[in-house]
């Protein structure tokens, strides 16, 4: 998933100033009638509408084509899938499929669909719709079809039974089908309307789109035909507010109930404002530094390990992430399925780093560059800390900042040296991250480090085909151990999702995959 780049326009000091001023006057100016935050009293009325301010415009309402995180998270409220990830992102829940059977050889999956499911126009959701949707997404070019290469056939055996046959056992199948790309859409309408369908889609999730303007406002209303728990709120308004400071001011003046990604330097300011708080939700984001092995020093294992010891991760977390991140150890997202908790972040040890550098043949260090994304405030701060820490062991780092896609382009293709990157999961199964990060033939060249371990590659492929949980646990633990020891890239930290939330909103929750659709079904908004 791509997190779109947001320019941060105001300098930190200026914003803090503005915010402090806003904090002083905001409560008196806007809500004299409600008498404060509106949540403290015992008899607060509830409101029907939830307003969320997102930083990034919607790319598309077609789940097969979504690539912007915010759009993906919004779409989960519209469409249902066969299964869905649970609130902690560690297991799966039924969605359109109430149950499923897996043949003993692991090659045939039979899904039993709920008979009462309807789309927002009142037509029933059939197994044929599901088959069509899965095949459509699988065949979308550049889409997520590569996850389902093991799928041979998807067929509706009757109105409510779907059969998927595989060419080889594929353990992540259920997790793949719970992914946003495999949302179920009405076959007849999509076929009849073509691209126009995605301007006003008909969907079977808890909410439906009533008004769509990709870069200003998207209005959702409760889907009267939704088969699950009826959401307590009847409307969700998603506003696109690209400017970080404007979003914060919206929350402070109570024009928004929830704002996405408030800037790190304003977190403590928001927390000081009565009735507001910044909530952190564990995510699947892993921040790491790519080490391109086309650059000679990084081919050397001792050098890579030396870099690991030369970095003080807790200092990076404190200085770049205001302490709101966890120092990283495994390359797999924090506490995800099969996460290896026995691995500890590399300790900060300058002497050991120097010793390893000498052992690797670089006793006096070397010169290198670190690619960062301009406008990424935390990333820039991280780069400065990394530069100064590596200078202590004799490595001279030149920080090079580029616009997002230029930076990515320079980091890909084997002409890079060091580069700041991050990973986020799209599915709860570790197969995805393992394929991108540790499989020589996975297509991503081990996060573009061009590191290749035959043993790790073999384990990734075995893990994909293994259906026994305990065995998979053991395999993925081993893969993480190999990556940890081999250090093809430097795992820096696990950073959480940040949302500014008004105290009048009760029950907002974001899963590690970034979805908040489950919480919107039960969330309440009080008078404020």
């Amino acid at each position: 998933m791509l997190r779109a780049f947001r320019p941060r326009i105001l300098s930190a000091g200026l914003v803090a100033l503005a915010l402090a001023a806003a904090g002083c006057g905001g409560s008196s100016g806007t809500t004299s009638s409600s008498g404060g935050s509106g949540t403290s009293g015992g008899t607060t009325a509830t409101l029907n509408t939830l307003i969320i301010a997102n930083a990034v415009k919607v790319d598309t309402l077609d789940p097969a084509q979504n690539s912007v995180n915010e759009s993906i998270w919004m779409d989960q409220n519209l469409y249902s899938r066969l299964l869905q990830p649970n609130a902690t992102g560690t297991g799966l829940l039924p969605d359109l499929a109430t149950s499923w059977d897996i043949s003993t050889n692991g090659l045939t999956y039979t899904f039993h669909l709920r008979p009462d499911a309807q789309f927002s126009d009142g037509t029933p959701v059939t197994a044929q719709d599901a088959a069509y949707s899965i095949i459509r997404s699988k065949n979308t070019s550049g889409g997520w079809g590569f996850l389902l290469t093991a799928v041979k056939k998807v067929t509706a055996t009757d109105a409510h039974t779907l059969k998927i046959t595989l060419t080889q056992p594929h353990a992540p199948l259920l997790a793949d089908l719970a992914m946003y790309a495999y949302s179920i859409v009405p076959e007849k309408l999509v076929k009849a309307q073509g691209k126009a369908f995605w301007q006003h889609p008909v969907s079977s999730g808890p909410f439906m789109v009533t008004s769509y303007s990709a870069d200003s406002e998207i209005d959702l209303a409760r889907n009267p035909h939704f088969y699950g728990t009826k959401p307590k709120i009847s409307k969700v308004k998603i506003m696109i507010v690209p400017n970080d400071n404007t979003r914060v001011l919206m929350l402070q003046s109570k024009k928004a109930d929830i704002i996405e990604n408030p800037p790190g330097n304003l977190v403590s300011e928001i927390n000081k404002t009565p009735g507001l708080s910044v909530q952190l939700f564990p995510s699947t984001r892993v921040d790491f530094i790519q080490l391109d092995q086309h650059y000679k020093p990084f081919k050397n294992l001792y050098v890579r390990q030396a870099l690991n010891y030369a970095l003080d991760r807790s200092a990076i977390v404190k200085l770049a992430y205001q302490g709101h991140a966890i120092p990283g150890s495994s390359f797999m997202p924090y506490k995800m399925q099969y996460w290896n908790s026995s691995l500890q972040p590399y300790p900060y040890n300058v002497a050991k780093a120097k010793q390893l550098l000498a052992k690797g043949g670089y006793p006096h260090g070397f010169k290198t560059f670190l690619i960062t994304v301009s406008g990424d405030v935390a990333g820039q701060a991280e780069a400065v800390v990394v530069k100064s820490q590596l200078a202590a062991v004799g490595i001279n780092v030149d920080i090079q900042s580029y616009e997002l896609l230029t930076a990515y382009n320079k980091e890909d293709g084997g002409h890079s040296q060091m580069g700041e990157r991050y990973w986020t999961n799209d599915i709860i199964d570790p197969d995805e991250v393992a394929t991108f990060g540790a499989d020589c033939k996975g297509g991503a060249n081990a996060f573009n480090s061009y590191w290749c371990s035959a043993q790790a590659t073999k384990l990734v492929n075995q893990g994909r085909a293994e259906l026994n949980n305990a065995k998979r646990q053991q395999m993925y633990s081993q893969i993480q151990q190999i990556v940890y020891q081999q250090t093809p890239y430097l795992i820096i930290d696990y950073s959480p999702y940040r949302y500014g939330v008004g105290g009048w909103v009760k029950g907002f929750h974001v899963t590690p995959l970034g979805n908040y659709d489950l919480s919107l079904e039960t969330l309440t908004v009080s008078q404020h």
């Binding site: 320019p7 790319d59 070019s141 550049g142 303007s213 404007t246 003046s253 320079k410 890909d412 986020t424």
Partner: protein, 316 residues
């Protein structure tokens, strides 16, 4: 030759300029590292997926073929299909024109309302209270960056004293006038400085002209002299300044659109460059070029209409 005799030549220039712009934008865009496939795939980028995307978007064809296809479509008024909006680039751009055009026109009107009386009075009474205080005020407002001024206006008029909305375009004409007041004011305050200063200078120099003495000697009432002779002559200078700066305003709206969450052309251009949405970037750039050339043309025509000498100098 008549006052407007240079028009046909200007139109030919316009066509050549447009062609040049298509060429430069098309190739410059493709020279930027990073492509649409990378924008779509992000950290899930693999070579195979990128190849598949390129072929869907037609980016696997030779670059001159792509340019030929682009030009061919352009002649039919078709800018191609946006990579990210799932709609034709023409539709996407058309959708983003109203906020920007409204904002620019609104800012221009506000700037004129603010600066014409102040500039004229400052010139008439040099060193007077209006002159002195407006000098300080407009120097300050000119020095304030638009994004800062915008945030401050939001802070005062949307948060502390919530009179105006925090952003957005509003619905209907009245809604636009109301919603866009703060962003238009942000732009107008910066823009007014230039207008006030130039109108003041023009008024002072006109006052010293001999024809003013002549007019007074003829016994024309002072108010008549001021309105018919001083103001009309002074405003000519300002019209030229206005035109030139209006073109700069178009690029200046980008920051203001960002602060006030306006879905305008500036926002669209920045978003589309950062996602490498080639058809949209090409379309918006062309549109901006047409707007700037058009505004310059209108400025010349206005000047010619106001001052008979202008056309003769150009066209004779």
């Amino acid at each position: 030759m008549s006052r407007f005799g240079s028009m046909p030549r200007r139109l030919v220039h316009l066509v050549i300029l447009m062609f040049g712009i298509t060429l430069v934008t098309f190739f410059l865009l493709r020279l930027i590292p990073g492509d649409p496939a990378l924008a779509i795939l992000g950290s899930s980028y693999t070579h195979d997926r990128a190849v598949a995307i390129d072929s869907t978007l037609g980016l696997d064809k030779p670059i001159w073929t792509q340019y030929g296809l682009f030009l061919g479509r352009l002649f039919h008024g078709n800018l191609g299909f946006s990579f990210f909006y799932g709609q034709s680039a023409t539709t996407v751009i058309a959708h983003h024109i109203p906020p920007t055009v409204f904002l620019i026109a609104y800012s221009a009107v506000l700037a004129a309302l603010i600066s014409f009386p102040i500039g004229f009075v400052s010139g008439l009474r040099r060193g007077g209270i209006v002159d002195q205080s407006s000098r300080v005020f407009f120097t300050l407002s000119f020095a304030m960056p638009a994004f800062w001024l915008g945030i401050m206006l939001i802070l005062v008029f949307s948060v502390h004293v919530p009179v105006f909305p925090l952003g957005g375009f509003g619905r209907g004409f009245a809604g636009h006038v109301y919603s866009l007041f703060l962003p238009a004011l942000t732009i107008a305050l910066g823009f007014s400085t230039v207008l006030v200063r130039s109108l003041r200078a023009a008024t002072i120099s006109t006052l010293q002209a001999e024809f003013i003495d002549t007019a007074r000697m003829k016994g024309i009432r002072w108010s008549q002299v001021l309105w018919k002779h001083v103001f009309r002559n002074a405003i000519l200078v300002v019209v030229a300044v206005f035109g030139v700066n209006l073109a700069y305003l178009i690029s200046g709206t980008v920051l203001v659109e960002n602060v006030f969450s306006l879905p305008g052309l500036g926002t669209l251009l920045v978003n589309s460059v950062s996602t490498r949405d080639y058809p949209v970037v090409q379309g918006v750039t062309l549109l901006f070029a047409v707007l700037i050339v058009g505004i310059n043309l209108i400025t010349d025509i206005t000047q010619a209409a106001l001052d008979p000498r202008v056309g003769q100098e150009i066209g004779a």
